[in-house]
Symmetry: C2
Subunit: 199 residues, 2 copies
Amino acid sequence: MADSPREIETLIGLMAKLPGLGPRSARRAVLHLIKKRDVQLTPLAEAMRAVAETARECLNCGNISTSDICDICSSEKRAIGEICVVEDVSDLWAMERSQVFRGRYHVLGGTLSALDNVGPEDLRIPQLRDRVAAEEVSEVILALNATIDGQTTAHYIADQLDGTGVRVTSLAQGVPIGGELDYLDDGTITAALKARKAF
Amino acid sequence: MADSPREIETLIGLMAKLPGLGPRSARRAVLHLIKKRDVQLTPLAEAMRAVAETARECLNCGNISTSDICDICSSEKRAIGEICVVEDVSDLWAMERSQVFRGRYHVLGGTLSALDNVGPEDLRIPQLRDRVAAEEVSEVILALNATIDGQTTAHYIADQLDGTGVRVTSLAQGVPIGGELDYLDDGTITAALKARKAF
Ligand SMILES: [Zn+2]
Ligand SMILES: [Zn+2]
């Protein structure tokens, strides 16, 4: 198309790949950014560069961090006895927004899935077992999505931790069937955590 | 919030200001970008920086460009006798997608609005008069949105060009009442342009 310079077409094309944006909304967003160059476009470019250069996975829990060990894992204020297992960092963020859990996390990076050919080694399940053995863990809270794959994964992990002496619980009351944690309000998550039951 | 590093919170905050995105979709987009750091985040940061450094308004028509005079104004393939007046660059892009107009543009940068206190000097209307006087313009096509402000602006411009000898037309058939150009399909725009009538 001859209608806009190559640099702008490139930017629109990349923006259109973002989840929630398509070609039309990408064009609108780019125009908006160009009109707000100094207060939005330049800061956004800089923020992206900063994240691209610093973001990495926490070596301990899989959370996104800007250091080898994330703020949560390295915080002395977080209980070391409780590990909350989540599928994705977005679920960790959802848990943190509810401000009710004060332990640490373990981010699996997905769920077991026969269809998508995802096995335990593709997730962070072996590392979870290592943490339970190495850290003074008394409880593992399975905060997986209430989907079939999520619950399959929860059962698999519970089996793996059987015999380690750790208490395995799961979020209970309040998580609707088929619901995904990241879509729940803080109150629902709080209620589900408080009413957790032995798995 | 302690749940993610400051650099990531900054990026989420800036992304949430984009039209079409809110806090939730911004978080999802940022997570997506971090997971695709090399193929999406880094290229996007670079594309934004490139646009921030190069994008400017064409001094002639107000189109977004990476040089003082935009590709359309400087193209020898575009008829100099026809100027299509649009409200915004997004409308120019919509016209270009229809590939039916081969003249040049004049981007007003908005519409007259008593409510929002927008007068002719706040738009690029004086410059339009100058172009009609200076360039060999035979026709000015008013491609303004079919809103009240758009049509008020069209009438004002037609008045301003009265006596210059230039033919003033407007998009006619196919533009629905209250419709905005940027939301129309290419075929509608093509039909509206072909059936344009004297204003
Ligand atoms: Zn960590
Ligand atoms: Zn131009």
